[in-house]
């Protein structure tokens, strides 16, 4: 029998279920007595709802209830003086409207269609107030986050770049970008009595969802069950529990029946976060031989008036390159818009686009190859924290990527390489993202037939979590992968962190590893061996011999103090070959190579897929994606999949994922560092820099659409 090992390209354990439709997503549970909730969005951008005429809606066929600010049953966590007050928007709790599209009512009916129709019959009277949505107009009203307590970063001297022999100072703009997973956000909620509730909901973290719902309704967390077994993409949009999920629970309590609430695609633009519109200023100062003497990174990004959102846009400039002087500043601009949320490579992807573009501009100013410039400023320790890296193989990423993309064919002179009418260019963009590990617990169960079941309350939003956990268990236990089942997406399982920040394999993988080790030790002991014997053992045989129906244990796993002594990051270098058509402005990415130092790679197959997926997101970021806003009306004008352009297959070239695949010796037992974010961080700069190399046109406002090429 073949022994599956960490690093093998194992097929997805749930692949067959997914492609045959057997995988049940949150919107597919047919709970008896199910009713349907449809939200009614506000059509003003700031002000109050003064009256709502719901009579026609209530008379419409099949309508069970209409919840409005004037009749909403109170949500305990929304009330002043609540033990744990709910943060953020509290739907129907008052009659304030903070942004256009904010739900002001929820219609519950026997069918989705009837609820949708009844929602159109509600007549709302508003008292509108002046509003501010224009980021550019309000740029100067940016505030220091956390009530002014956010601290700017300074190493050495602030703004030292200004006095350097060679200076680049530029602004880079990123529009609002929507997560837009294929699966819409959906929640089905039903109560059992007055104190127990169950949710099937799209969630990146069932433990977090459990906590949020129990807080909102003042329930014992044990009485809140969250199921989210399959998730059809999320990209950060399901990291938190959103107000509409609370509303579904509230409605289910009111109608005393299960309620399913599905957002429309248009509502996905306003109610589940987005990557905020950001303007960054980068100042780079260098000596004529290409040594950085100063880095300054400033960022302004949009947030909501009713809740502050911050991200790490500027942080990458503190540690990615050696520079005696570095400083960052960060402000947010509160507007009458929905609150943003972390989106794949949150902050770092935004920041890396600016920093890596500016570095490219510097390379041309200096006449130094962009890779050589990065090597001249390579740092072997973390200059921000003045600590050693737990591991760093970014140099190897440069080297392997340069080989694979054919960097030697790149011309240092922009606009000089052609294939027929098309101009050819090459670009590099790098990324880094913190390698985290959170406390996680896993329950392992050995059954008499020698199969093993493992449970942990993690999620799988796409990377193949169950598959990589199965592989870690197989390798650690020394049994084949098909003898192992891994279960996730259920809040009754032992705790795991929310699937975000690229930490799942590091955190849950460690718990699975440790649980397997503990199980094996127990069995070794039963077999009369030394606990740490590594020789193969007959799992089922030991159970039989000791007349045990099964063996079960729950293992906690967490990091020690290493994070205090080491800086832990995953690193990536992305390389792009791009064609630009000088007459039409069309840009085609011809090839992308992503080289990653993500520590040990658990499953080569799913890891490659994850890298390719991130690169596709990066291509969307740099070439096509933009949520377009009309500031006269305060509304998005492209809130649909026809006009919000995610990349299509024809936009996507060959993407090659290369892994350094060296275990990090510090972070966790398996040596994994994480891939989810760095798969995207750096892609935008790689492509934008290649566009410049091809055409001589530097586009600092994403996305790089044909009009921008022509007008540059």
């Amino acid at each position: 029998m073949k022994q599956d090992k960490i690093g093998d390209p194992l097929d997805r354990v749930d692949g067959r279920l997914k492609v045959t439709g057997g995988a049940k997503y949150s919107g597919e549970y047919k709970v008896p007595g199910l009713t349907y909730g449809v939200l009614v969005p506000a059509t003003i951008t700031n002000g109050t709802v003064t009256a709502m005429d719901t009579r026609a809606a209530l008379r419409a066929p099949g309508v069970l209830a209409v919840i409005t600010p004037f009749n909403a049953p109170p949500v305990p966590g929304y009330q002043p003086g609540a033990a744990k007050p709910v943060k953020g928007l509290k739907l129907f709790n008052d009659n304030q409207v903070h942004f256009n599209g904010q739900p002001i009512a929820l219609v519950v009916a026997e069918t989705f269609e009837r609820a949708t129709y009844a929602a159109t019959l509600i007549k709302t009277t508003y008292q509108p107030q002046p509003f501010e949505t224009d980021f550019h107009k309000n740029f100067d009203k940016g505030v220091v986050p956390n009530e002014g307590k956010y601290k700017d970063y300074v190493r050495g001297e602030a703004d030292a770049y200004k006095n350097a022999p060679v200076v680049v100072e530029q602004d880079y703009m990123l529009p609002s970008e929507m997560h837009n997973p294929m699966e819409l956000h959906v929640t089905t909620a039903f109560w059992d009595g007055d104190d127990k509730v169950t949710l099937y909901t799209k969630s990146q973290g069932v433990v977090g969802s459990q906590r949020a719902i129990s807080t909102a309704f003042g329930l014992d967390p044990a009485n809140v069950q969250i199921h989210s077994r399959f998730v059809g993409g999320a990209f950060g949009s399901s990291l938190r529990t959103w107000p509409h999920e609370v509303a579904a629970v509230q409605a289910a309590k009111l109608v005393k029946r299960p309620v399913k609430l599905t957002l429309t695609r248009e509502q996905m633009f306003t109610l589940v976060g987005y990557r905020p519109l950001t303007i960054q200023r980068i100042g780079l100062g260098a000596s004529t031989d290409g040594k950085l003497v100063g880095i300054t990174h400033e960022s302004h990004s949009q947030t909501a008036v009713y809740e502050e959102f911050t991200e790490n846009a500027v942080n990458v400039s503190r540690f990615l390159y050696a520079s005696p002087n570095a400083n960052t500043r960060y402000k947010v601009v509160p507007l009458n818009v929905g609150v943003p949320a972390p989106m794949r490579g949150p902050g770092e992807a935004t920041g890396s686009f600016a920093l890596e573009s500016a570095l490219d501009e510097l390379s041309y100013k200096l006449g130094i190859d962009p890779i050589e410039l990065r090597l001249r400023n390579y740092t072997y320790t973390d200059p921000e924290r003045n600590l050693p890296w737990s591991s760093k193989y970014l140099k190897e990423c440069y080297q392997q990527g340069a080989e694979r993309i054919g960097w030697d064919k790149r011309s240092a002179q922009p606009g000089t390489q052609r294939d027929g009418e098309w101009l050819i260019g090459y670009g590099i963009g790098c990324g880094a993202f913190g390698a985290y590990r959170s406390k996680t617990s896993a329950k392992i169960k050995l059954l008499p037939d020698g199969t093993v079941n493992i449970q942990s309350a993690t999620s799988d939003i796409g990377p193949g979590t169950a598959t990589s956990m199965t592989l870690i268990a197989a390798d650690t236990l020394g049994i084949p992968a098909d003898k192992i089942t891994f279960q996730l997406g259920d809040s009754s399982y032992p705790i795991a962190p929310t699937q975000g920040g690229s930490q799942t394999v590091s955190s849950v993988g460690s718990a699975v590893h440790d649980a397997c080790v503990a199980l094996k030790q127990k069995l070794n002991t039963l077999a009369g061996l030394s606990p740490d014997t590594t020789a193969p053992i007959d799992y089922a045989g030991i159970l039989t011999k000791h007349n045990l129906p099964m063996l079960e244990l729950t293992q906690d796993s967490q990091a020690g103090d290493d994070a205090k002594n080491y800086s832990m990051y995953s690193f990536s270098a992305h390389f792009a070959q791009v064609y630009v058509h000088p007459l039409t402005g069309q840009v085609r990415v011809k090839k992308l190579v992503a080289v990653v130092d993500g520590g040990k790679i658990v499953n080569l197959k799913t890891a490659s897929s994850q890298m390719i997926g991130g690169a596709v997101g990066g291509i969307g970021m740099v070439l096509t994606e933009e949520a377009v806003f009309d500031d006269h009306f305060g509304r998005y004008v492209n809130g649909n999949f026809a006009d919000y352009h995610v990349p299509v297959n024809a936009d996507i070239p060959d993407i090659e994922a290369i892994f350094i695949d060296k275990p990090d010796p510090i972070i966790n037992p398996v040596g994994t560092k994480g891939l989810g974010e760095i798969s995207l961080i750096g892609v935008a700069a790689a492509v934008a820099n290649a566009v410049y190399n091809a055409s001589g046109k530097r586009i600092r406002e994403l996305p790089i659409t044909p009009d921008k090429i022509l007008m540059a």
């Binding site: 159109t120 006269h632 026809a642 024809a650 007008m711």
Partner: protein, 325 residues
């Protein structure tokens, strides 16, 4: 979506009678645009008259050219041997639009009736004279990147979104319609209209009139053709600017030319003056640039679509280069 009556018609005369019953009744063909609009509350019909059972699917040779039945799907037309052979420009244009799934449902007549993609037209919470006459034009001072540079009016600056229409107008197609007053023919160029004071009217059809077929004249441009569509992603996006170009060549001389643009006006925009200029000329960048310059006369851009004043002539140049190559 509002409640409405649904009628399925087996004959054209019956369908026309049914649609005349209410002021807001619509024929339903492939439904790829109309159903979306109904779901969004942009169109609120009292009745839908489903014409799919009508025998209008044929693609047949006529004495002079080719007749495309109004219910022939976009895929059927684009892939038809006689179209590929005699009217490759039409095939290229159709295949530049939408997605295979949509083209499998969308019909010749339905594509002609496709409404604008102007975002203000699509959002009932914003003003639009086309959707709601007199409410104003949100795009005029709003996000007008996709909007017209030719033939717009203060009431409406929307563009016709179809790719098929651009080829049809270039090829001098003729539309056959049947209505309560009988049958008539409309030159394709006169089928769609400019917005003027009545942007709610996309075309010159009269109440109750049904498109029966579109006739293509004898194949004249089967070799030197190009359809260039510049858009924000490589597929499945509406045109920023598109150009249909067809040349008849005698050796190295252009003996006849057809040029039309999409994404620039409320109707597919035929470029007669540029065509006339090209006749008798030798292909070359200078000639094509001059043709493009002529084509651009009278263009007027708005805040966010200034780029079209550059992109459109570039696109004409590129399309002519491709067609003549």
């Amino acid at each position: 979506m509002n409640p409405f009556q649904y009628t399925r018609s087996l004959a054209a005369a019956g369908a026309i009678q049914s649609v005349l019953k209410e002021p807001h009744a619509h024929f339903l063909a492939g439904g790829t645009n109309l159903i979306d609009l109904i779901k969004m509350g942009v169109v609120t019909p009292e009745r839908l008259v489903d014409i799919n059972p009508l025998p209008l699917k044929g693609i047949e040779k006529t004495a002079t050219g080719l007749r495309l039945g109004a219910l022939a799907t976009n895929s059927e037309v684009a892939d038809h041997p006689l179209v590929l052979q005699g009217y490759p420009l039409l095939s290229l244009a159709i295949n530049a639009g939408a997605s295979p799934q949509l083209r499998n449902m969308a019909t010749v007549g339905g594509n002609m009736m496709q409404r604008t993609r102007c975002n203000y037209f699509f959002d009932t919470a914003m003003p639009c004279n086309k959707r709601s006459p007199g409410s104003g034009c949100g795009a005029l001072e709003g996000i007008n990147r996709m909007h017209a540079i030719f033939g717009a009016s203060p009431a409406c600056i929307a563009v016709n979104p179809s790719d098929m229409n651009v080829a049809m107008v270039a090829l001098d197609a003729v539309v056959h319609v049947k209505g309560p007053k009988g049958e008539r023919k409309i030159p394709f160029a006169d089928f769609h209209r400019l917005p003027g004071d009545h942007p709610e009217k996309d075309n010159t059809l009269e109440r109750g009139e049904l498109i029966m077929a579109v006739d293509l004249p004898a194949p004249a441009f089967s070799q030197h053709v190009a359809y260039l569509k510049i858009r924000d992603r490589t597929s499945y996006a509406f045109a920023l600017v598109s150009v249909a170009a067809a040349l008849k060549m005698d050796g190295n001389m252009i003996t006849d030319a057809r040029l039309a643009m999409g994404g620039v006006a409320h109707k597919p925009w035929r470029l007669h003056a540029a065509e006339t200029f090209l006749k008798g000329k030798t292909p070359g960048d200078d000639t094509f640039k001059q043709a493009a310059q002529i084509a651009m006369q009278g263009a007027k851009a708005y805040r966010y679509n200034q780029f079209k004043l550059t992109m459109a002539p570039n696109a004409i140049l590129q399309a002519l280069k491709t067609a003549s190559a």
